[in-house]
């Protein structure tokens, strides 16, 4: 059995789904952030897969288009994790909780 695009996308989709489920269901901010990391990495996998199976890779004109994207996503994800965790710490200091249901002040 050869591993082709559909398999990669299936794995990517499953990971993304797990990430969404975590992000939507967990109350803890840190757990939600973990779910988001999963979603990001699922999209990275999809990028790589599309890049690898595209015509531009086959004929060698643009072999690394998807990889470039992944590098950027990783960088942004690292920055986002740093900022988000810092915010989580600050929120905890002020409100003594990281329960998302209790942090709902920006509302009508």
């Amino acid at each position: 059995m050869t591993v082709d695009l559909a398999h990669y996308l299936a794995v990517s989709g499953i990971i993304f789904g797990i990430g969404v489920a975590i992000a939507l269901s967990k109350r803890n901010v840190v757990a939600v952030l973990m779910g988001i990391e999963l979603m990001l990495n699922a999209s990275n996998l999809a990028f790589l897969a599309f890049s690898r199976f595209s015509g531009a890779f086959q004929d060698g004109t643009e072999p690394l288009a998807g990889h470039t994207f992944v590098v950027f996503v990783l960088t942004v994800a690292a920055a986002e994790a740093a900022v988000a965790l810092a915010m989580a710490v600050l929120i905890y200091r002020r409100r003594e909780t990281v329960d998302l249901d209790r942090i709902s002040v920006l509302r009508w």
Partner: protein
């Protein structure tokens, strides 16, 4: 004639000198830091208009040298929008040169007079600012070579007239009179504007007055267009020149300062209507005969109607206002009868003696603080100069040989005699009435016993026994007696030929002559009027009260101004405009226009009320919604274009 030909730039200078004066005074009033004082305003205005007057004399001299033919200055491009092109220029021919001369001379004398009359008034600088603007507009009107240029200044004249009549705006009567003057003349202007658009569309964008006249004279315009255009122009002229049925604003306009009436209600603004008809005289002539006949009859009717109201009015200035309406009716009648020269000649002489008479009434008012003749009397000893000049003005207006009014009125009645005997009879009766009401004024004001005057009113500082006015007021009056006496003699000196220079050769038909019947009857009418007035108001046999009772309903009608004001205000404005039109328009405004505006606001708020419920503050609710959005988008794409992956 005596001087070299005037360059075009100098004609523009006639127009721009008062404009500069206006602009400087306006800046001086609005910017306190300039240190502008009220007395500078009058000096500046008099200097500017004096300069205009000298240049206007030069222009007149040049025009006489050209036998009144157009000097042919090329117009300049003023505005160009794609195919729409408007040129502005100056027209120098007999008509405009004469009008420039009249406007600047009367205006100059009125400004000098105003320094005395308006002395100490709180709005002194504002007054001279407006007078400058008015003079500028009027000069722009008479020198315009393009119909649009003329129309712009026409409206400017209307605007300044509004501001000047309502100069003492804190008096409700003055404010109302100003509004009335503006709206009634504007009503006529509305038709003038229609005529303007009509001629513009039908000639393919021609605004040049000479070209329009040439097209009409060569019968290149259809009769329907000509009728529409001439009637539209006439409606505009009727508004400005106070012709029936738009005459009722002029008597009320007497609420303005007297020098204002002396300038704009005798010589300039009200003459603008006659000037307009004269300017388009070749077009008017080319129009079907019924149109000119209508114009002539409206003029004659106005003349006799206004004269009858002049006989019963008790306010000295209003008598003069009715007299002006009546004399303008004469001019309009002459235009309608083809008497181009007669109309302009009468306009020319009337400007001077009517201005003189208004200044005389102002002088009387200065002494007695009232315009009501029932409270005057016996002023001839107290105010000898005013009395003498007023007598000369009245004699001229009544058409007594050999004063100016005699020649022009005779010219006018002669035209009527040749074209329409009925109108000639009306004209002669009006001449009788004119002499009667003018000498009624004189006997009531200057003869008999002094009946008290009135307490101090706005802007005046005199009470006590009447006295002669200051020299700044009497000198202009004395100067004005010269044209009032002598300018009629131009009739003997080729005035007609000069004035007709502006017309194309084909329609020049003026020949100076006199007709003994016309001459005798008009002189008889003048002296008859004077004698009748003397009998009633000097000898008091019969007494005026008896006469009023004898006339019965006629007296009541005339004293009630034929109830034209009531019909116009009560009938047309209140019922037709307010109840009928106004109510519907107001309802439309409230329901539809306000409905749209308020509906938009209310709708936006309702939608906002609903939409803001989505803002729960729960992070995961937002995420769910955005995920749901992604899912929906994916489904939509799949449904619309099949499997994305397999393409």
């Amino acid at each position: 004639m005596f001087l070299p030909d005037i360059p075009e730039l100098m004609i523009w200078a006639i127009y721009f000198a008062p404009m500069v004066s206006f602009a400087v005074i306006a800046c001086g009033i609005t910017i306190p830091r300039m240190g502008f004082q009220a007395r500078h305003a009058s000096r500046l205005t008099i200097t500017a208009i004096g300069l205009s007057w000298i240049l206007a004399l030069w222009a007149l001299d040049t025009s006489i040298g050209l036998d009144g033919e157009s000097a042919g200055f090329a117009p300049h491009e003023w505005l160009r929008l794609f195919d729409f092109e408007v040129d502005f220029g100056v027209q120098l021919d007999s008509l405009s040169a004469l009008m420039m001369f009249v406007v600047t001379s009367v205006s100059l004398l009125v400004q000098v007079y105003s320094t005395g009359y308006m002395h100490g008034d709180g709005g002194y600088a504002r007054y001279f600012m407006l007078m400058s603007l008015f003079t500028m507009s009027m000069l722009g009107l008479v020198m315009a070579s393009s119909l649009l240029q003329l129309f712009i200044h026409w409206e400017l004249v209307g605007l300044t007239s509004y501001l000047l009549v309502g100069f003492w705006f804190h008096r409700p009567a003055a404010a109302a009179a100003a509004k009335k003057a503006f709206i009634v003349t504007r009503f006529g202007d509305f038709f003038f504007m229609i005529a303007l658009v009509l001629i513009w569309t039908k000639t393919g964008g021609i605004f040049d007055i000479t070209e329009i006249n040439a097209l009409a004279a060569q019968h290149q315009l259809s009769d329907a267009v000509l009728v529409g255009f001439v009637l539209g122009v006439f409606a505009g002229a009727a508004g400005k020149s106070a012709q029936f049925p738009l005459h009722f604003w002029l008597p009320d306009a007497m609420e303005g300062p007297t020098p204002v009436s002396s300038l704009i209600h005798s010589a300039t603004m009200v003459a603008a209507g006659v000037y307009l008809l004269a300017r388009f005289f070749p077009t008017v002539e080319a129009a079907p005969g019924e149109v000119t006949t209508t114009i002539a009859y409206i003029g004659a009717f106005t003349a006799i109607l206004a004269a009858s109201m002049g006989i019963v009015a008790n306010d000295i200035k209003r008598v003069l206002a009715y007299s002006t309406i009546s004399q303008l009716g004469y001019m309009v009648m002459a235009i309608g009868l083809g008497g181009f020269v007669a109309a302009i000649f009468h306009l020319f002489t009337h400007a001077f003696f009517k201005s003189l008479l208004f200044q005389g009434s102002g002088s009387v008012n200065h002494a007695t603080n009232t315009f009501d003749m029932r409270r005057m009397g016996g002023l001839r000893t107290a105010m000898p100069l005013t009395f003498a000049t007023f007598i000369i003005g009245s004699l001229s207006l009544s058409g007594v040989f050999p004063l100016a009014g005699f020649w022009s009125k005779d010219e006018l009645l002669l035209d009527a005699w040749h074209h329409d005997k009925f109108l000639w009879m009306v004209g002669t009766i009006v001449a009788f009435m004119t002499a009667f009401y003018m000498f009624r004024v004189i006997f009531l004001t200057f003869f008999g016993e002094y009946r008290g005057g009135e307490e101090v009113d706005v802007g005046h500082d005199v009470a006590g026994p009447p006295h002669e006015s200051p020299r700044s007021m009497t000198v202009p009056m004395i100067i004005l007696t010269v044209p009032s006496v002598l300018f009629g003699l131009f009739a003997l000196n080729g005035f007609g030929g000069f004035i007709e220079g502006t017309l194309p050769e084909e329609i020049r038909h003026f020949k100076f002559h006199m007709d003994s019947v016309v001459l005798a009857s008009s002189t008889l009418a003048a002296f008859g009027g004077i004698g009748a007035a003397a009998a009633v108001y000097l000898a008091r046999t019969p007494k005026p009260e008896q006469l009023g009772r004898a006339a019965g309903p006629f007296y009541t009608f005339a004293a009630g101004k034929y109830y034209v004001d009531e019909i116009a205000e009560g009938g047309i404005v209140r019922v037709v405009l307010h109840r009928f039109l106004g109510r519907w328009i107001a309802a439309f405004d409230r329901v539809v226009v306000d409905g749209i505006v308020n509906g938009t606001a209310v709708g936006a708020r309702r939608i906002g009320d609903i939409a803001r419920r989505l803002e729960t503050g729960h992070l995961q609710a937002y995420t769910s919604m955005s995920m749901l959005g992604v899912v929906v988008v994916i489904i939509v794409i799949f449904v619309l274009s099949g499997n994305v992956l397999e393409r």
